[in-house]
């Protein structure tokens, strides 16, 4: 990269807008530098890493503390926080709340990540295809996207949830089926704009295939956009999961998720407030961090903002 920059400078030494051709830092380096100074974003990243680590390590932690998320003990239900053997108390069936929160996090975060990446994948593929080829393919894809997005999404979500009864895997599919349209629009318009630019024309002149151009030149060019998009959709997906639980179309017992734990806990808000507030706080905190991260990344990648 540096060598290339030097070449350009050598070719046009007296160019007044030299700084545009020879950025002192690459986009990535600049973003990294900006984030390292953005304390809220850093905090969000650290929190998310901790939450993810806890969720991934759920089986290990449960084993170490000898608490199982599904062992019932009806004589010891609604235990309060810091009860002996149950650091975060127990739920209505006497199951350990800490380990249920850990496993619930694993599933909630797992669903969010899987659905976000799957819909990103669909979105990028379809969007790049539509934007790059244009014509009838573009028209029909855009018609389909417009149609899908003109149906209030929660309605569609409820209908499809009734169709495919929601287990973690089917919920990922449901959320992805409905989640890809935003990315498609984004990628399509970007691909549309990029395809006439010099580097694409050059690549084509060099004999690159359309597929190659699409995935080696166009997609990486919008990487920053997609990362921001991904971060926001991760947050929204966790919220959607909990909203579906509230409407009775979320993941069903016995599988714990933060969403169904929060919704189920509302029944016991008076008797055992920790059953409501802990899952609620975890959802809020996680979503908060994802949104903060998305916000921070958007600023960090924004070329228009001066340092």
């Amino acid at each position: 990269m540096k060598a290339k920059s030097r070449n350009i400078r050598a070719l046009a030494p007296e160019n007044r807008e030299e700084y545009e051709f020879t950025p002192s830092l690459t986009m990535w380096q600049r973003a990294l530098k900006r984030i390292s100074r953005d304390r809220p974003t850093l905090g969000a990243i650290v929190t998310l890493l901790i939450l993810a680590a806890f969720s991934i390590l759920a089986p290990v932690i449960s084993d170490a503390l000898q608490i199982d998320p599904n062992t019932q003990d009806l004589r010891n239900n609604y235990a309060e926080l810091f009860a002996i053997g149950h650091p975060l108390g127990t739920d209505e069936l006497g199951r350990d709340h800490l380990s249920r929160l850990l496993y619930g996090g694993q599933i909630s975060l797992g669903i969010a990540f899987a659905a976000a990446f799957l819909s990103l994948g669909i979105g990028v593929a379809v969007g790049a295809f539509a934007g790059f080829y244009g014509g009838i393919a573009d028209d029909s894809i855009i018609w389909f996207v417009t149609t899908l997005t003109s149906i209030p999404s929660l309605f569609l979500l409820i209908l499809i949830s009734a169709l495919l009864s929601p287990r973690p895997t089917t919920l990922v599919i449901i959320l992805s089926i409905l989640g890809w349209t935003g990315t498609t629009r984004l990628v399509r318009s970007e691909a549309y704009a990029i395809r006439e630019q010099e580097f694409v024309i050059a690549a084509r002149a060099l004999g690159a295939s359309n597929l190659r151009i699409m995935f080696l030149h166009i997609v990486p060019n919008m990487f920053s956009l997609l990362i921001v998009d991904l971060s926001f959709s991760l947050g929204s997906l966790i919220l959607t999961e909990s909203a579906l639980s509230f409407l009775g179309f979320g993941i069903r017992a016995p599988t714990p998720t933060w969403g169904n734990m929060l919704n189920g806990g509302l029944d016991y808000a008076r008797r055992a407030p920790h059953l409501v507030f802990l899952p609620g706080l975890l959802i809020t905190l996680t979503v908060f961090c994802f949104f903060l991260l998305g916000d921070g990344l958007r600023d960090a990648f924004d070329p228009k903002i001066a340092d």
């Binding site: 809220p40 018609w143 389909f144 417009t146 149609t147 899908l148 997005t149 003109s150 149906i151 209030p152 999404s153 929660l154 309605f155 569609l156 409820i158 209908l159 499809i160 009734a162 169709l163 947050g235 919220l239 909990s242 909203a243 509230f246 409407l247 969403g259 929060l262 919704n263 509302l266 808000a269 409501v276 609620g280 959802i283 809020t284 905190l285 979503v287 908060f288 949104f291 903060l292 916000d295 958007r298 228009k304 903002i305 001066a306």
Partner: protein
């Protein structure tokens, strides 16, 4: 311009058509039938259930049901006395001629009337949510851009993000308990108030005789649902407004305006704000759409008698005519919102020519 609007309206037709096919297909693919839901009662006899199924026409294949819904069956013979022979002309006109059929659950009721009874409540709530969301968001966003990097900017960023991070149903539930039980009893302990709810804990109108009073007499019923619902809007709009405002600030014409020595206040609001508002109009349509869909949760928590709840109940009871009518009306509103937002965009953004 007129031509553009016309073109947009024409484009909406295939979209609407697609929506009805998609929703109808999914609806019929869902296992379980309306009859066993409507008549899950050991006292209802077997042949009555069969009669009901044929009356509702739910045992016909997908394309027949869809076509009957779309174009009616008054041009063909049907089996009216259910003896297996075609003996009379059909009496459905289909929605293309304005006949939305009859609700399964509320036998004899026209789905349009059922929606009409509730549309006012949905529009009322969403108008306030949109107004509060946009005005609050715009104000905070502009100020955040002006004071970029300072305390106000940082604080509102946190506030905005936190606002959209709380699950709405949880927030609503907490607000109801806070203003209905906790605060009033706390205040009563200090001799203030009677311990009765400070704000209504749900509903749209006072629960007394005499219909619903005009809206200015029951604004307090709107406070909790609108605040819980608008929080996300304020957050979204303020972040968006801040970004577009910053774009505008960095633009040449702003620099020119400052360079000319115009007073800062007038530069910000006369030039900056007006230019920043143009791209906002793009988001108005999707925002309206989001509110129509998202209001189910707010309506459920605050018992707001809107279309969302009607549709939710219809989905649970497989009330096909009501589901389809709500989806059609909802989509027409949503598409209308999108077109409106494009038109506004065209008006506000002088660079766009049609």
């Amino acid at each position: 311009m007129q031509e553009y609007i016309l073109r947009r309206l024409l484009q909406a037709i295939p979209t609407l058509f697609g929506i009805t096919i998609i929703v109808y297909a999914i609806m019929l693919l869902v296992p379980g039938d309306p009859v066993s839901l409507l008549a899950f009662d050991p006292k209802i006899r077997q042949d009555e259930r069969e009669r009901l199924a044929r009356q509702l026409g739910v045992s016909d294949p997908f394309y027949i049901q869809y076509l009957r819904w779309l174009i009616g069956d008054d041009w063909m013979m049907v089996d009216s006395n259910l003896d297996g022979e075609l003996d009379a002309w059909g009496d459905n006109y289909g929605i293309l001629r304005g006949d939305f059929g009859t609700s399964f659950k509320f036998r004899g009721s026209n789905p349009l009337e059922l929606i009409g009874e509730r549309l006012g409540a949905t529009i009322e709530l969403n108008t306030f949510v949109l107004l509060l969301g946009t005005s609050g968001g715009l104000m905070i966003g502009v100020l955040a851009a002006v004071y970029r990097g300072r305390m106000f900017d940082r604080a509102t960023r946190m506030f905005a993000v936190l606002g959209i991070s709380i699950p709405t149903f949880w927030l609503g539930f907490m607000l109801i308990i806070l203003f209905g039980i906790v605060l009033p009893r706390f205040l009563e302990g200090y001799g203030v108030g009677s311990g009765r709810p400070i704000l209504p804990m749900g509903g749209r109108c006072p629960p007394v005789r005499g219909g619903c009073p005009p809206i200015y007499e029951r604004l307090h019923y709107l406070i909790l649902p609108v605040s819980a619902s608008a929080l996300g809007g304020i957050a979204g709009w303020s972040r968006f407004m801040r970004a577009t405002m910053l774009d505008t600030i960095n633009s040449d014409f702003m620099r020119t305006a400052f360079a000319k020595g115009l007073p800062a206040r007038s530069v910000w609001y006369r030039h900056g704000f007006r230019n920043a508002i143009a791209p906002l109009t793009v988001f108005l349509g999707p925002a309206i759409l989001g509110l129509i869909g998202g209001s189910v949760i707010i309506e459920r928590i605050f018992t707001w008698p809107g279309v969302g709840l009607l549709l939710y109940d219809a989905l649970l009871s497989r009330d096909h005519p009501v589901i389809m009518a709500s989806v059609v009306i909802g989509s027409v509103l949503a598409i209308g919102g999108l077109i409106l937002s494009d038109i506004l965009h065209a008006i506000f953004d002088p660079r766009i020519r049609y």
